[in-house]
Amino acid sequence: MTAIIDVNQLSVHFPLATTTVKAVDMVDLSVEARETLAIIGESGSGKSVLGTAILGLFPPTCTVSGSITYEGTDLLTLSDKELQSVRGLKIAWVPQNPASALNPSMRVGEQIGEPLSRHTGWGKERIYLKVLDLLQKFRVLPPEERFAAYPHSFSGGMLQRALVAMGVSALPEIIIADEPTKGIDVINKGSISAVFRTVRDQGITLIIITHDLSFAHDLADRIVVMYDGRIIEIADSDLFFKNPLHPYSAGLLLSLPENGLHPIPGKTRDTGECDTGCRFRFRCSDARERCNDEPPLILHESGACVRCWNYD
């Protein structure tokens, strides 16, 4: 397996008047070609910022350091113009909250065809047929009618499928999807899973940002857990759900309804509140004095990596 994206020591910080919010802090991650990677963690853990960073999309106020290597070039050094030939064509983004991700005054079909008309130079007719084909494939039915409809007439699940269709339209190598199942009911979630499985079977690398653990389990090959801007565990999916290593990961799984709904004690601290030591030590039942020093990512015998002194 070869890495398609190599994130190296990436930090995205937001300087505020009194503190600095470290949304992503010294993250190393390599994504392998054709794998499906799920980044999980609670709101505010920095998973969306990490996702958008790979596309070179940053809020104007942040400071960025580190590198993101794709096809031998560091994406962070590219100009906006150069990035535009990567975004949508090589790396596509499926945004969170489909209801506000589409232009409400533009027909859905035209929006799905936008990456094609931008990156391929195809004629209108050819794009139309391709979009119909995509709608059919992602079960936004009936395609002709849905092509000409406006976003408000779509249900949440259908919009999400249309957005995935838009993401795949220009056949990118990588798709990054942000919370694709948020607000979608259990019954329609199956169809979202199916759509992503189709994408995966086309050989596209998938990065799914989610806090829906069952969805991650269903799709992903590897799981990355983020907590307070840091990666605290990377493990194969089956292994992770059988035997989570980090106390936070274990707590996450225990808080699922099917595992008895045990909440993780304590509260998430404001980011930037603590700069040294393990970020989870205030909520951890295993916390010791040693946890005042931050543990490195430790390679566990199972092949997983975990940032916890328990495995030293």
Binding site: G157, D185, V186, N188, S191, A194, R197, S255, P257, P263
Partner: protein, 302 residues
């Protein structure tokens, strides 16, 4: 304790009077004292409308709501207002449930201001302290405005407001669907504990089957504006084909297709077009049949 009889709600489009949506269609529902009824169904099936209708927040097009034997639909606005403290709602979006220009404390104390006659002599400061502690907020968070709190903290504030006057009935409309799993667990635990303390009835609306199983003493399954199956343990042993479908969707996510169309308002069974075991008689919607511990609307069951 609270009972809906033959509840229906039709929404009529402003532009086109013929464009009618049967959001809820002839539903009988009952929630007993200290009982939790979990109501599950797809988005758009009418479960939120039904929940709001039970509180008479949306007046029903047809049918009646009985609360402790009194009909809510026949009351005058003043009578209804005097009773309102007894039934509360915790909504899906905590960020839009609180007034953005009020501090959290002002919102939590609003029930005391509205029902000032009833709560005369109660010290607002002490009540606030009590409620804040009950829901696990920090005292300084009460002085903040909603935009300064996270989703989970806001939902705690909404719960504090809902339980302020010890209501007899609470509608929880997907209270955790917008929250993370770890926060969801703590909010559910909080709801369970407070409900037990107050001893109130609860309608818990959700689309999460596992949550429904944990929360509900009884479970009702809704499809296309109608309740198709209701009773104790129906998720362990589903009888109606739609219940079977949603239960299997949890066990095996890949196997499910969304229900494409509901035949809302028609005389046929709502599940007709997607049902694997339909028969010609399904073109006439079956009546609700009572089997002791459960009620089912399906021709196949007998």
């Amino acid at each position: 304790m609270i009972k809906g009889i033959g509840l229906s709600k039709d929404f009529i489009s402003e532009n086109n009077r013929k464009n009618l949506t049967h959001a809820v269609d002839d539903v009988d529902i009952r929630v007993g004292k200290d009982e939790t009824l979990a109501l599950i169904g797809e988005s758009g099936c009418g479960k939120s409308t039904l929940g709001r209708m039970l509180l008479n927040l949306i007046p029903p097009s047809q049918g009646d709501i009985l609360f402790e034997g009194n009909s809510l639909t026949k009351m005058s606005a003043a009578e209804l207002r005097a009773m309102r403290w007894k039934f509360q709602i915790v909504s899906q979006h905590p960020d839009s449930a609180l007034n953005p220009r009020w501090t959290v404390a002002e919102s939590i104390l609003e029930p005391f201001r509205i029902h000032s006659k009833m709560t005369r002599g109660r010290d607002h400061k002490r009540e606030l302290e009590r409620l804040i502690k009950l829901v696990g907020l920090e005292p300084e968070q009460a002085a903040r405005y909603p935009h300064q709190l996270s989703g989970g903290e806001l939902q705690r504030a909404v719960i504090a407001r809902a339980i302020a006057l010890d209501p007899a009935f609470i509608v929880c409309d997907e209270p955790t669907s917008m929250l993370d799993v770890s926060i969801q667990a703590s909010i559910i635990r909080l709801l369970q504990a407070r409900q037990k303390e107050i001893g109130c009835g609860c309608l818990f609306i959700t689309h999460d089957i596992q949550l429904a199983q944990i929360m509900g003493d009884r479970v009702a399954v809704m499809l296309g504006g109608r309740i198709v199956e209701e009773g104790v343990g129906i998720l362990d042993h589903p009888v109606h084909p739609f219940t079977q479908k949603i239960v299997s969707s949890v066990l095996n996510e890949s196997a499910t297709e969304p229900v494409m169309a509901w035949d809302c308002g028609s005389r046929a069974c709502t599940f007709l077009s997607s049902c694997p075991s339909r028969s010609p008689q399904c073109h006439v919607f079956p009546e609700m049949q009572d089997y002791g511990d459960r009620r089912v609307r399906c021709h196949l069951v007998s």
